[in-house]
Each structure stands twice: as structure tokens, then as C-alpha cells.
Symmetry: C2
Subunit: 198 residues, 2 copies
């Protein structure tokens, strides 16, 4: 397969989350695709947000935020929260909100999983800022937890791809992590690359 | 739906990438799930890696790394690269490798998309480090690019969920981003939360 150069502004497939903040005393939610775990212990998660977003103002003010995982039944509202800014539009009534131990990180009842985070570090970059938060509370609907573990098909998370700008569901089970590659461990150094058709 | 508290160490669904480095002159690949875009312009991407990984050594040495997106046909090898450390096992022959403009960021020919990155910032956290790289080269198999845009079902990326430790494929198209929520913009402030069954 021939490789060709493509535009540098490539986006890997992204999990879709709603970032909850309280800005000037009012709850606000923003759709974010730049979100990943940042530290194992203590558990930290990060989100990358454009420097001039209203959400950034909320995180800076309260030093807290929430991460909420929407399912496809919330797709319209999720997309809406990415279309309009809290600066001009009041998004405080879009969802049913609950609070955990932090009193300034509103969480979305309709989302099956919610994390409340205390800001630990801010990483300013040219056009965006990374907000790294320690997860201090985690909540889930009872139906999405089986034997203490999250059931991801039940959580039914969304993904976003760009620049085609499409949402996707979680697909099929493809294999067990830290297990599927074990047969190759026996082969060790003898593993050879797949022959590539030129 | 009743909310219950779950363990704080929750992981959002993660895109699976292979991070390529050159450590002490030898190519090495590590499976990583903590990867997200970090900055819009210039385009930057980040990966979070445990502090004592061999890959960290390579990034620190060369100030470069690559991000490669594997498809399910590479699942065994991808998992293998997460099971064994380059410190003890030579992973330089697991894949067919090519180089772009950077001479120390090996990319995987078998992966449909490859990004070569120049390290711009390191964010040390208690147990992990974030490596933020500027994307200086992006490559794709011609078959996964349609009309200049990446075709994600064709790229066929993998996702990882934890702590159930499973790989997943990309699911079904669920809606158009920056579009599906437009009907709600007309309603404006009148949007009401879905009634939640207590």
C-alpha cells in the first residue's frame, strides 16, 4: 500500500464527553473531544479546550470541572452544547444536574458516567489549554456497572471523527487487552512484519 | 436512574495508538490509550506514558515520536507491544518501518495512518508524563483517504476500555457533528432536561 502525505491537522478518533463547569454561579456544559487520562495514581484526566471558551473561564474561576459521558439518546443535546457558547446562551437547563462533593462541578444525571475533578495543573499552549484534573468523585447509573466493572456497551459512549465531523457508536468486541498478544510472546524476537504490497 | 459511586480510577473509552520511538538507535513501539489532540494551530498531539517506560527514554533522547493507528488485523501485534517492554525485548522487527522528515520517529507501514511528531513540551505528573508533540508529518494509505478526507470506517481504528480490558471496533454512524444539535438552537433557552425516573 502506497503512503501519501496528508494534511498535518489530523485528528485521531475521539471519545465524546461533556465538560461541566459553573461560570459566574451558573451551570454550563461544553462538548469536548480532546480528553484522555493523564495520570494513573492519583487518577487524573485532562481536557484540551480552546483558549477563549467560556468553559475555560469556569475552570479558572472554580478550579473544578466535571466529565460526563453521553450516550446516543443525548446526541442532539450533546451536539448543541458544542454549537453554542455559554457566553451567549444559558445551557444550565439543558440537562438535569446533580452535584457531588465539589460544589462547583455540575454533573449530568442523564449521562451514565460522571467524574468530578479538581484542577491540578493548567498547560497553556498556543491556541488551546490543557486542564488536568484529579478525579475526586466518580458516579454511574447502576445499570452500567456489572460486578463492579463498567459495562461499556451499556454505557454506549459516542466517538467523534474529524474533519468528516461525524459521531459514531462503540463497535464490536475485538479482543482482550493484555492477552490477545500473548501467543507472540512465545515467538519473541522471531516475529516478522507482515509483507506489505508495494 | 439511581447514581452510585464507583472507583475513582475510571477510564473513558480510549483510541488505541502505537507510539514509535528510536531508543539507542533501535526502533521501538508501545501501545498507548492515553492520546488526544492538544493544540489546534500548530497541530499538536499528546500521549501520556508511565514514567519508567522504555518509550519515555526514546522520546527524551530524540525529542521525537510517532503516532500510528492500528486496525483490527494488527490486534495481536498491537497487544503484544503493550505486553512486552523494549527494555527486554527487541520490537524493531515486529512491523515494517518507514521514516518521514524526522529521522528518529519510526512509523509503521501496516498502520493506515501515521503522524510524525517533534516534542514541544513535557508535563511530568506523579506516575506518568505527558509528551506533547507538534505534528510535522502526516501519512496515510491512499485507500483510507476519500476526496482529501480520512474515511474512518476504512481506517478501522481500535478502541480500548478499562478495567474490563477489551478492544473494540468503531461502531455505526450516529449523526453529524456541529449539525445534529441545530434544531435545538431555535428553541434556545426553552430546552428542558429529560425527565429522569427516580
Amino acid at each position: 500500500m502506497e503512503k501519501k502525505q496528508i494534511g498535518l491537522n489530523f485528528f485521531i478518533p475521539m471519545p465524546v464527553v461533556l465538560v461541566g463547569t459553573n461560570v459566574g454561579g451558573k451551570d454550563n456544559f461544553m462538548t469536548v473531544g480532546w480528553c484522555a487520562r493523564a495520570n494513573a495514581s492519583p487518577p487524573m484526566i485532562l481536557c484540551g479546550i480552546g483558549n477563549h471558551h467560556y468553559t475555560s473561564k469556569g475552570i479558572t474561576e472554580t478550579k473544578t470541572f466535571s466529565i460526563n459521558i453521553p450516550s446516543p439518546d443525548l446526541l442532539e443535546k450533546t451536539d448543541y452544547c458544542g454549537l453554542v457558547s455559554g457566553e451567549k446562551t444559558d445551557k444550565s437547563r439543558v440537562f438535569d444536574v446533580f452535584y457531588g462533593t465539589l460544589k462547583t462541578a455540575p454533573m449530568i444525571t442523564e449521562c451514565p458516567v460522571n467524574l468530578e475533578c479538581r484542577l491540578v495543573q493548567t498547560v497553556p499552549l498556543p491556541t488551546n489549554t490543557l486542564y488536568i484534573g484529579e478525579i475526586v468523585g466518580a458516579y454511574a447509573d447502576s445499570r452500567v456497572i456489572n460486578e463492579g466493572k463498567p459495562n461499556f456497551p451499556e454505557i454506549n459512549p459516542l466517538f467523534l471523527t474529524m474533519p468528516d465531523n461525524r459521531y459514531w457508536t462503540l463497535g464490536k468486541y475485538a479482543g482482550d487487552a493484555w492477552n490477545a498478544g500473548k501467543p507472540l510472546m512465545q515467538q519473541g524476537q522471531k516475529i516478522e512484519p507482515v509483507t506489505v504490497n508495494e
